[in-house]
């Protein structure tokens, strides 16, 4: 292939291509189009129930799929060996991967293996028109600043990106390109790490990253019981419950619900923040939401600066009224 090569290391969970793979493929397409480059999406799995061709319709020029039983559950040892082999052979300029627990495990080891750098949790990616280098922007120092980082000499230039940072492109009706199954030396599938099993967590099914509505509570909720109010409201809206870090630290909600720099990034259609002040670290996890509603009694709370609609007052008064009103609305239909 000619031109710059962009590789997306996709994620497969439970035999399905995870949505972040489409988000990154779309972004890679955008970047590649600025410099006449090509996009390859790589999928490692124990087998796929989805058609890898959907990635061709989302911006990839080709898809490489590697299937092997050892990869049916996440296996860092085999992944690093297989990907290092592929990337050494293909010598891409840019490699993007999801900043999920899997991506954040495989990628640093892979980067070290390839003797190159890696930028974690990028929220912005663009090609520098002057140098042709990938500019990788990530929150730094607790989200107080954004640092833009580049990898001037070493190749590939590698970055991980949190799910929902970029929007998945609309799928085209049809697209060219090919799905290929590269030849991998069998010894690379021999893993020193042995998978013993997987237990799905209680929260596993309700990943707040996948929901259209997230209703979050912070320290202003004061008691764990107050989260019932949020749960009720979230349920009426078909959404889930998020929390700020102090609310999680107080054990009012579990860590899977934490939104922000050290929690999850969510980009729902509607984000409702109640009793949350709006610290930059929290904003880092929700600022790309479609419509933001803030409920806070402090008119100067920073959360109002990123809100489309602000309700200034006591949340213990406002939320029950809001819930009641929405119940009426939903029930009336």
């Amino acid at each position: 292939m000619t031109g710059k090569q962009f590789f997306v290391l996709g994620e497969v969970r439970d035999r399905h291509i995870h949505s972040v793979t489409f988000e990154l493929t779309g972004k890679a397409r955008e970047l590649a189009d600025t410099c006449g480059g090509t996009v390859t999406a790589v999928l490692l799995s124990g087998g796929l129930d989805d058609d890898p061709e959907t990635l061709l319709r989302s911006g990839a020029d080709r898809v490489m799929t590697v299937e092997h039983p050892v990869l049916s559950m996440y296996n860092q040892d085999a992944e690093v060996k297989v990907l290092a082999h592929l990337l050494r052979r293909e010598t891409p300029d840019v490699v993007l991967a999801p900043a999920t627990t899997s991506g954040r495990t495989t990628l640093p080891a892979l980067a070290a293996e390839l003797e190159t750098g890696l930028t974690a949790d990028c929220t912005g990616l663009e090609m520098d028109p002057e140098t042709g280098l990938l500019l990788q922007t990530r929150p730094a120092i607790g989200g107080n600043v954004m640092a833009t980082i580049k990898t001037p000499v070493r190749r590939p230039q590698m970055a991980t990106v949190r799910p929902r940072t970029f929007r998945a492109p609309d799928r085209k009706a049809a697209a060219g390109g090919a799905v290929i199954r590269p030849e991998i030396p069998p010894e690379l599938f021999v893993s020193r790490v042995v998978n013993l099993g997987f237990e799905r967590g209680e929260d596993g099914g309700s990943n707040i990253q996948d929901l259209d509505v997230v209703v979050s509570g912070g320290k202003g909720l004061k008691r764990p019981e107050s989260f019932r109010i949020l749960e009720e409201l979230a349920a009426l809206l078909g959404g889930g419950v998020g929390a700020s870090r102090p609310a999680v630290e107080a054990k009012w909600m579990g860590y899977p619900h934490q939104v922000g720099l050290s929690g999850k990034v969510v980009a729902p259609k509607v984000y409702i923040a109640a009793g949350i002040s709006g610290a930059v670290q929290h904003l880092a996890g929700m600022q790309t939401a479609g419509f933001v509603v803030a409920v806070n009694r402090d008119p100067d709370a920073s959360i109002f600066r990123v809100a489309d609609l602000g309700l200034c007052g006591d949340l213990f008064d406002i939320l029950p009224r809001l819930t009641e009103r929405i119940r009426k609305e939903v029930g009336a239909e």
Binding site: Q76, D77, T101, S102, T105, L107, P108, A109, L110, A111, E113, E115, G117, L118, A120, D121, P139, A140, I141, G142, N144, V145, M146, A147, T148, T151, V153, R192, V193, L196, F198, E199, G201, G204, N207, D212, L236, L237, G238, L261, K269, V270, L283, F291, V293, A294, P299, R305, V306, D308, L309, L311, C312, G313, D317, R321, R325, I326, E329, V330
Partner: protein, 261 residues
């Protein structure tokens, strides 16, 4: 059993102060602590030593004052400390840091187990652990929230997005750990006394056998080219105490328009 724990000294505050001119962190006058997750890694090492015997070595790369962090670990019960300090290390990115740590582990080892925090509160990359493992050629696991000894290795539970994954890793291996793993113990008086008596060798670049080109700014693959302040703002329609009902009606209309309800 010989265990190495990689620890990092980090600023002690949640509200890190910034120099508005330079966009850099104000370190002067700031307290420094051991990265909280590294204390979980240390506690795991101490627990394993209680169960199986052996020795725990804490290793850090940092400025001379990072010896305070090692002392704290010694007073919690670690046997030995190793401080890697050299001008040549300055400006290291995670890869350059991992090269130094891998060389140090090789020099102080061999170890059966290397433990690290899942991430540090200042860098927040979570990359140094897996990078070090790769450079040491060790199998590794991450996000470890439970750990037990098994025949010839360890069994771990990794907390990931959708649940708990169980894995076996043979020795020698490297693990990065989460807060849920254990409750770090407080330093004891006897521990503090012993810590004061224990000498912490200071190792420079020459003693771990890597060249200046491999580390520091020059040995890093990445460069920070710009620091900027996030500017996020939206036009907010505000409803105060007296207009809450109006605000609720407005919200219901928006939700209807967006087909949420």
């Amino acid at each position: 059993m010989k265990i190495a724990v990689l620890i990092k000294q980090v600023p002690d505050s949640d509200d890190v102060r910034m120099d508005p001119e330079t966009g850099t962190m104000v370190r002067e006058g700031m307290g420094a602590i051991v990265n909280p997750l590294d204390l979980n890694a240390l506690q795991a090492a101490l627990d394993l030593r209680s169960a199986a015997g052996g020795e725990v070595t804490v290793i850090t790369m940092g400025p001379p004052r990072a010896h305070e962090a090692l002392r704290e670990c010694l007073s919690m019960g670690a046997d030995r400390g190793m401080l890697l300090t050299d001008r040549a290390f300055a400006g290291s990115d995670t890869w350059a840091t991992a090269k130094v740590l891998a060389a140090a582990v090789k020099k102080a080892g061999p170890f059966d187990l290397v433990l690290a925090g899942e991430k540090a509160t200042d860098g927040e990359t979570g990359q140094v652990g897996p990078e070090t493992a790769a450079l040491l050629g060790m199998p590794f696991s991450t996000y470890v929230s439970a750990l037990s000894l098994a025949d010839g290795g360890v069994e771990v539970a990794r907390t990931v997005e959708e649940g708990i994954q169980r894995q076996f890793l043979p020795f020698p291996c490297l693990l990065t750990v989460l807060h849920a793993l254990n409750e770090p113990s407080m330093p004891t008086l006897a521990g503090k006394k012993r810590a004061r008596r224990t000498e912490i060798p200071l190792e420079g670049i020459a003693s771990i056998g890597i060249s200046p080109e491999e580390t520091g700014l020059g040995g890093s693959a990445t460069r920070v080219v710009k620091i900027s302040y996030p500017t996020i703002s939206r036009t907010t329609e505000m409803f105060d105490e007296k207009r809450i009902d109006e605000g609720i009606e407005r919200l219901v209309a928006v939700l209807r328009d967006m087909a949420v309800i």
